[in-house]
Amino acid sequence: MKWTFFHKLGSPKWFFDISGKFLPWFVVLGISLLVIGSIWGLAFAPKDYQQGDSFRIIYLHVPSAILAQSCYMMMAVSAIVSLVWKMKLADVFIASAAPLGALFTFLALFTGAVWGKPTWGTWWVWDARLTAMLVLLFLYFGVISLQSAIEDTQIASKATSILVLVGIVNIPIIKYSVDWWNTLHQPATFKLTEKPAMVPEMWIPLLVMVVGIYCFFTALVILRMRNDILIRERKTKWVKALLHF
């Protein structure tokens, strides 16, 4: 196997060119899947026998929660790539993905809270999942503020990579401790997402939403990365040529 593609990936110019071609596809695919998934989930999926129609929030809550968590994983992989192979693009990815991760974590928290109102009777419950998401939001805020606090973008990126790696080592411990803390303080309550065997009519739209949100996220990351590349590489010839045209 040739590793040339790996080295090509490190070149911001190559990424800028190739991502421009893929971008419209991800935008169209993401938006259409999200529209189809939500109409399907809102209007056609059968309602939950226990929770009624408030259960339809799942089609927004679960995909954004999954994305929020895996976004941090992707950032951790990029952090390793950035620290080991000193690849510029990995730095750009972390800087671009962190605000999106925070945004989707917020969305997952918000929809969780709104879902909690009809299900538990209160807007906020110190449920293990919600609390873990809240901590994840704080971790994203830390990454974002460290990235913006250090003026030199190169050093800021390296510092952020170290922080992301420290965070990823801690996340399983935090998750475990919060789960454990939750069982200590309140007996297992009604879980939001642990459902007794969903029927296909219920989970197929969920799957559509998950795939859709990943495509949409990819499009957003590409958009943000292209912006970031333009700023970081503003002194190179190819960006100057691009601006002249």
Binding site: P46, G52, S54, L230, L243
Partner: protein, 68 residues
Amino acid sequence: MQFTNIDAFLSMGGHGLYVWLSYGVGLLVFIIAFMSPVLKKKRIIKELSQLQRRQSKHKMKDNTEGIN
């Protein structure tokens, strides 16, 4: 279709407020997330090309001064 008419669809079996609040905020988040980089790109291109124009003017000036 799970709902017989549009009113039933909007009320969501009494949970309309929660469902539509979630999806409304979700839509807002998606729109913000999409529009902010799109608008930012325009701003970046404008600023960078301005910067470049200014720099190339300086260079020309320097060159002419050098000739004189």
